[in-house]
Symmetry: C2
Subunit: 279 residues, 2 copies
Amino acid sequence: MVVTIVGIGLIGGSLAITLKENGFAKKIIGVDINPDNIDKAYRRRLIDEDYSLEKAIPLSDIIIVSTPVNVMMDLIPKILDQVEHQAVMDVGSTKCKLLEKIKNHPNRKNFVPTHPMAGTEYSGPEAAIPNLFDHKCTVICDKENSSKEALEKVEQLYQSIPMDIVELDAHSHDIHTAYVSHISHISSFALALTVLAKEKDENRIFELASGGFGSTVRLAKSSPDMWVPIFKQNRDNVLDVLDEHINQLARFRSLLIKQDYEAFYQLIQESNEIKRIIK
Amino acid sequence: MVVTIVGIGLIGGSLAITLKENGFAKKIIGVDINPDNIDKAYRRRLIDEDYSLEKAIPLSDIIIVSTPVNVMMDLIPKILDQVEHQAVMDVGSTKCKLLEKIKNHPNRKNFVPTHPMAGTEYSGPEAAIPNLFDHKCTVICDKENSSKEALEKVEQLYQSIPMDIVELDAHSHDIHTAYVSHISHISSFALALTVLAKEKDENRIFELASGGFGSTVRLAKSSPDMWVPIFKQNRDNVLDVLDEHINQLARFRSLLIKQDYEAFYQLIQESNEIKRIIK
């Protein structure tokens, strides 16, 4: 297959490594409006060739759109205007707004909305790593609106990695990702700001911060260019989860104020239930 | 040296592995009120012998107290009642309450308050792992109140691992750990409860939860037996940081409500500053 990747960053670049390595892609074409990214992608050997979007589309069997989700809103309709036999898939973290926008596009069936659940806090082609997706889970949304041919290509792509495919409607997807991904990022951003606001002596943080702090605050390194559009598109779900999270923190706060350590103990025990779910 | 470890859990057990491996300890004596822990410690080969506290003290050169911090409050005065040439050190996450309690003990100078900044979310002798402390940082508090002999033994112990030693007064220690450790735990507990409260379909969380969620919620597996006493002893500092953290989350919330994505972007950019500090 000839695979075109539009947006050669962490996700696009990591897919490029894997799909070339496992033989799914005979050729990887890179498309990126940032010439720096194309340059880095060549030097990292992520891509075989690069073209403008218009030139790349007819040369492709499958087109992966891995730009920030706000860019997809204009880009995917434009790609669908041009496709013939090509399958188009995105890898974005939100689905409802995009699918609403393209729902009446005559080539909607060429499009398969997907979301591979993997990433790191880094971005750009230099952040691309092998094996990022191995045996992780990917979501395919609203399957019934894609053609059999497009679905087959996309499923083959994910099976080649291999990733486990979960089917969800777009609405459920956006709710679940608010819980299992988007809130973790806001929590990390806020935790970083908390510590930065209070700890003026930064060397001290650096010296004392151990693994626990590092892992809860890791996501605070994530790029606002990628994340602000996600929060914007998934605003209502994120607000709902954020309210719940602030309420939970307020419960801990209230029990500390009242010095009710028995209830505090029970609250921690309840939260330990996450063990059953996250290994 | 003969090293006695009182409380053979994650921290005591991991120290046991390291100090035996690097030759600092000729013999490791285990003391634990829970016979199950002693049994497991033998089977994990963490200890050479086990005795009651009373019998172990005179046989030791150095005594490491690695129990929950509430247990230390009674245990350390009792140990100090009995010591002669022995050095005694704790590895607890809070310092002020304990040091206040023993400040007039005639053998206070035998005691060195320390806090190795390393751990995992697991507990018990079965959680002990090699290399947990390598090249991490450890705190020694209020050095001026320990004897030269006791300090020398404790410093040799940490240098043998090796760990970097940072000196702090107890008050500063308790403030800094509230920031770089205690708040991360409350944030994780609350995040786990948030998701557990809302996501009834647990298989879905399990399938979709990717690395980001796993790392922010990892600490929510931590034991309440260890953590409630820490929050209790460091209550005022933890409350102060928790208030700040809730305020920071409320800033994100307010900007989402107002749909002020420009300010939201700036807030994320500010939080990205943590990159300079946490590699």
